[in-house]
């Protein structure tokens, strides 16, 4: 089964897509990349992921898998060499817990900070920083979450090392203060200097331009008004 053709439907700036790219590259799996315009979704995407209509989508032979962390675990289980998740059940549970935590408490709040303005931006950034305080304790004393080599949690949180600084710049906010969070900052640096990660990142200038426009468009959208109400004024 592992020998069947692999394709990845992605979007050039999506941190979720890059989780899958990194997992595939770390395992040395050949794949065909198909760029999707998420603002003008193709019939292929709508057919392959009718529930969420989002990238990434992995196609492996006749199998279709969506949701980035589901895909990464699928890759890890289908190609078991260079394991990404730890072997020990407790360590695996910890990796899953912290991946979920970072997604709900850091990624969502940092994204809100990017799209918000004024006091709401400050509130979102403060919540994001509180999440980083917790992550700092987990990564303290470690080179990488996976130990000596990149693991599942490094992949799931990898966006912090590259997307978050871009969002901080675009949003004029500081979430990762290197003095307050030395272990996290060091981990970010280690990750960016890892060949597989460092060689597989979108162009920064293009990202800045993209997120500047995205921030403006989302701030003015109805979606944002609902989300802000839900997350910042529960």
């Amino acid at each position: 089964m592992a020998e069947k053709k692999v394709k990845l439907l992605g979007f050039w700036v999506s941190p979720f897509v890059y989780r899958v790219i990194w997992a595939l590259k770390l395992k040395g799996i050949d794949y065909e990349y198909i760029e999707e315009d998420i603002f003008n979704k193709s019939p292929l995407l709508l057919q392959l992921n009718p529930i969420h209509k989002k990238v990434p989508v992995l196609i492996h032979g006749d199998r279709v898998i969506s949701e980035s962390y589901v895909i990464v675990q699928y890759i890890d289980e289908t190609w078991p060499h260079c394991p990404l998740l730890p072997q020990d059940p407790y360590e695996r549970a910890m990796a899953r817990f912290w991946a979920d935590f970072a997604e709900t408490k850091l990624l969502h709040t940092a994204w809100l900070g990017l799209c918000a303005r004024g006091a709401e931006r400050e509130k979102a950034a403060k919540l994001a920083m509180e999440a980083v305080e917790k992550i700092e304790e987990v990564v303290k004393g470690k080179k990488l979450f996976g130990g000596e080599s990149i693991g599942y949690l490094d992949i799931c949180l990898g966006w912090i090392s590259y997307w978050l600084p871009v969002w901080e710049e675009v949003g004029s906010m500081q979430i990762i203060d290197p003095i307050k969070f030395p272990a996290t900052s060091s981990w970010m640096n280690t990750l960016l200097h890892h060949q597989v990660i460092g060689d597989n990142l979108p162009a920064r200038d293009a990202m800045i331009e993209y997120f500047q426009k995205r921030s403006k468009d989302l701030y003015e959208s109805d979606w944002f008004k609902d989300i802000i109400r839900l997350h910042l004024h529960p």
Partner: protein, 235 residues
């Protein structure tokens, strides 16, 4: 490896804690259940889950594991002997994880949205969304079960537990809003599945009585409405 003291911190009404009850039952693991009072959380809970301070928490070999989906997978891996909770094939595991995420992040959010919807129109829209979500899951049930009784086939597994834990609260939403959500006509597969799930050996003795849950929900919502009336404006 496994067989040392196992403790579960939970509440009788929590659907997420129910998942842990059921999973340990499938594996025939003996455990101590600690009923938490969420108004006065125990020191053990606060120490075991300092991040979220929520139930459920599974404590095994004195190590706490939090988040029900992480706990379910842990139980499957720490007690690897049959019966298994997750499928063995990576693709079927991916399908199960995908639908678990849909149920938790989309569908359950919509179910919670029924309670917080204000006004008849918003309530109706919220209820419709829950029903539509069940129609989507009905289709998933058809593909996953392949004509058998459960999402996992002949025996209950991961996805059965993930959705089944909400059946009590679904009943609560139906009764409180005087509607049918799990409709035998629109979702015949799920309707039949729900009955079999509740009768399963690992479920029937631990699932809370649905009318007791309804009484509890009525009490909680009444208290919340009262508190809202008395609360100062949130500016």
């Amino acid at each position: 490896m496994a067989g040392s003291e196992v403790k579960v911190l939970g509440t009788w009404a929590s659907p997420f804690a129910l998942r842990v009850h059921i999973a340990l039952g499938i594996k025939s693991v003996k455990y101590e259940w600690v009923e938490e009072n969420l108004e006065a959380k125990s020191q053990l809970l606060l120490e075991s889950n300092p991040i979220n301070k929520q139930v459920p928490v599974l404590i095994h070999h004195h190590k706490p594991i939090c988040e029900s989906l992480a706990i379910l997978q842990y139980i499957d891996e720490a007690w690897p002997s049959a019966p298994s909770i997750l499928p063995s094939d990576p693709y079927h595991r991916a399908v199960a994880r995908f639908w678990a995420a849909y149920i938790d992040h989309k569908w359950f959010t919509w179910l919670k949205g029924v309670a917080s919807a204000e006004g008849a129109e918003a309530k109706k829209a919220a209820l419709d969304r829950v029903r539509e979500g069940l129609v989507v899951v009905e289709e998933a049930f058809g593909k996953c079960s392949k004509g058998k009784d459960f999402f996992s086939g002949d025996r209950i597994g991961y996805l059965d537990i993930v959705l089944g834990c909400f059946l009590g609260w679904l009943y609560v939403a139906e009764k409180r809003n005087d509607v049918k959500l799990l409709d035998e006509e629109k979702m015949p597969g799920l309707a039949a599945w729900a009955i079999k799930f509740c009768l399963d050996g690992a479920v029937k003795d631990v699932m809370p009585d649905k009318d007791e849950l309804l009484d509890y929900a009525n009490m909680v919502f009444q208290a919340m409405a009262k508190a809202k009336l008395n609360a100062p404006p949130n500016y």
